[in-house]
Subunit: 349 residues, 2 copies
Amino acid sequence: MAGYASGEQPDNELTIKLNTNENPYPPSPQVSNVLSQIKPESLRRYPPATAQKFRQLAAELHGLDLKNVIATRGGDELLRLVITTFVDPGEKIGMTDPTYSLYSVLAQIQDCPIVNAPLLADWTLPEEFAQSMNDQKVRLTFLVNPHAPTGALMPIDQISKLASKLNSILLLDEAYIDFVDHHYQTAQLVKEHDNLIILRTLSKGYSLAGLRFGYGLADQSLIAPMLHKTRDSYNLDFISQRVAEAAIADQDHVRANAKKVILERDRLRAELHVLGIYCADSQANFLLATIPDTIKFSAAELYQKLKDRHVLVRYFNAQRLDNKLRVSIGTGEENDQLLSTLVDILKQS
Amino acid sequence: MAGYASGEQPDNELTIKLNTNENPYPPSPQVSNVLSQIKPESLRRYPPATAQKFRQLAAELHGLDLKNVIATRGGDELLRLVITTFVDPGEKIGMTDPTYSLYSVLAQIQDCPIVNAPLLADWTLPEEFAQSMNDQKVRLTFLVNPHAPTGALMPIDQISKLASKLNSILLLDEAYIDFVDHHYQTAQLVKEHDNLIILRTLSKGYSLAGLRFGYGLADQSLIAPMLHKTRDSYNLDFISQRVAEAAIADQDHVRANAKKVILERDRLRAELHVLGIYCADSQANFLLATIPDTIKFSAAELYQKLKDRHVLVRYFNAQRLDNKLRVSIGTGEENDQLLSTLVDILKQS
């Protein structure tokens, strides 16, 4: 099997990086304060083992209890913990097609067969999704919402119904939830559904992909075995706990950044439309752009031509995605440069 | 099964913490410099995925190649990766008795039966150790050297012979290697033995337990599957990579701290001997002290009496260890306070 392929890193400083959905704006100014206050002496000792202070802040933010929260090294660690804690090798893991590519890699590492359910043409779930997963005795179902790589958002009541119908654990990956343009809170669902685990990360909405910090919300019957048994004893270092505490406490900053990203997302979508490139409605910090037949370059060619001109976007060499490009929302300047570069390239056709 | 029990944390600032083998001296002053130079903006992006710069520094330090090094979130992550990458559930994992208690916890998480080999009375390996592991078809053998919780050091040629004889992978845990009082380098052994993985950590010798940073050295056939397949995609955050690079580059600081610890270790051992408390020869930053029958308190009672007086040491409620206390080496002042507190307690008998 092949491991997970990390996002391409640019080879020079000039490159505009719109390929791995990082937040274009800096993290909370509180992060600076925290970093300047850390005494090297405090690194001498083991860090708080379960990141209790961060977990308390997350619990308060979501109206839940400390026991409903596990803090993890990015969302990645939570995904791995959910699989290794609740799914034995040989048991099935369900997911949609397409979805975040890490899920299938992690399933293969655990030797778990994958049950794929193709999304409908508008990237929504097929009606029979839960029944199909149950029929195939799926033990764990992965769902990313807003969806990657399309940005489509599922209504909350649909998630609730899905959790009710599924016999499996439902891992709801909310990596991009901070970019939804209206009030949208699912955390209380974990009080109703003891098979639901909500994944959150500080990588996107909090502009802290480099920090590797995320968390899970769930009924304590799901949190406890991960928190007290399968998790590495000290999974989160002292510095990142301090930084994460400061970041999650500064919700105003998260909302202000998200608002800027949303405005740019909607502008970029409109401008791409003018160029004949249509993007599905996205509630995330990226757009999935369909390259129409009227453009003489394929998506793969366009990806390469953009890269040659120092604009990095994401091309998926996969069925249903091979005429599309995923573009992370950059700053206004970055998006302008993407657009003007595209115009230059299209002039050649 | 029970999870790993993390070291007891003191409930107040007055407590002298000699129970979890942390380094009593601060980390390299370079750590401060690095922390002050980190720009929050740099946390916006994903960190280098394989910590290449740190791995290059570690490779140079040990006279090995980049491909022989994996960087991990503390030694813990390496231990887990070795098990999940190379041992299937149901396959056997071998270890000595006693040894570091995390090994058996990790084996249980992977559903692997444990093969225990009792150490001899002087805490050395029995002659037939390798043969016994081979006979029982052990797939992975854990060995901690200097040994925990005794501090006993195994000769390098014995390790080499063991690696040759064993059919299993040999994980050599060198968490405490920086406190050996003479030249002692095993890294070159990985060139001769493609079944040997050496574990190193920055938690002890580098005074960075709070950072969660370690690494593994091995033949590239063992490193590659962990580095490229089973490791979490971004296991090490940006800040800790920068700090670890600065720390491993400052070997003078590590050696200077180790020298102070060694002097204190030998002094404390001599002073305890004067009190009638004998410690095995230790090459680590702790002593395993045997509480003799001539003292009216048991080891468990002494542990509690010390704790009541704000001195925390480690008591193992385990066969062969229940008349012993493990004492981490503190600063001169901390060791003095341990000694004077002990004298006070013993006066009562």
